[in-house]
Point group: C2
Chain length 130, copies 2
């Protein structure tokens, strides 16, 4: 039984999110997903269009996802890895190298390439000129 | 075994879509979902932001959905009902009464209320002023 863990905001849910979760889940048997709360996003200077409870519900409704839960702060990642017995921590490669120092002693750390040309920012931008 | 059928474009996938599919699936055991192709939408004067193959993939990835397939034209609904042995045809209540004459002799026809205040149009509108 291999357990995988990833995190994200997943605002304006799109095919890039889905592909990343599908590829993450294919690395093991159970995919855990931390979804950033609205408060956590505000603390990072980000505002999402869709509220946390809706974003969480969408992620939890995907076949590839075993369990979705709130991400409330940066520092919870190590605890999440240890308490859930995570084998592989996965993020998009825009985070490459960022989590190695903290997490590599507890699990494997993998960075996946993003789906080219797809992002929430691009979607927001396209819609803003529609 | 009760089979349910619904249709939609599901552009900019959001919580209103998810809730409708969840409630439709709760009426039976297997939910079939016809997803409008880009060509069909163009014939109705509609243009979606996300392309058909991506919209189909997102719908197919939901736990509530047994099978997603293309909706290419208005007239295929009766054939879809008959060939899949559908028990209940479900649409949002913005379509109330529209399908009764054609489909009621083949299956039950149910119209579900929409999630208040949520629609692709509203999301597009909100984003356009961001």
């Amino acid at each position: 039984m291999k357990k995988i863990l990833t995190y994200g905001t997943f605002d304006c849910f799109h095919i890039g999110h889905l592909r990343l979760l599908e590829r993450a889940s294919a690395l093991g048997d159970q995919l855990y997903v931390g979804v950033s709360t609205d408060e956590f996003n505000v603390s990072k200077g980000k505002e999402s269009l869709c509220r946390f409870s809706d974003r969480l519900e969408i992620i939890q409704s995907l076949r590839y996802v075993y369990r979705a839960f709130p991400e409330r702060e940066w520092s919870q990642k190590i605890d999440d890895v240890i308490k859930n017995g995570i084998d592989i921590f996965v993020m998009g490669d825009d985070w490459k190298g960022y989590f190695d120092a903290d997490l590599k002693e507890h699990c494997d750390v993998v960075y996946l390439s993003r789906t080219e040309g797809i992002s929430s920012s691009r979607i927001r931008k396209e819609l803003s000129v529609t």
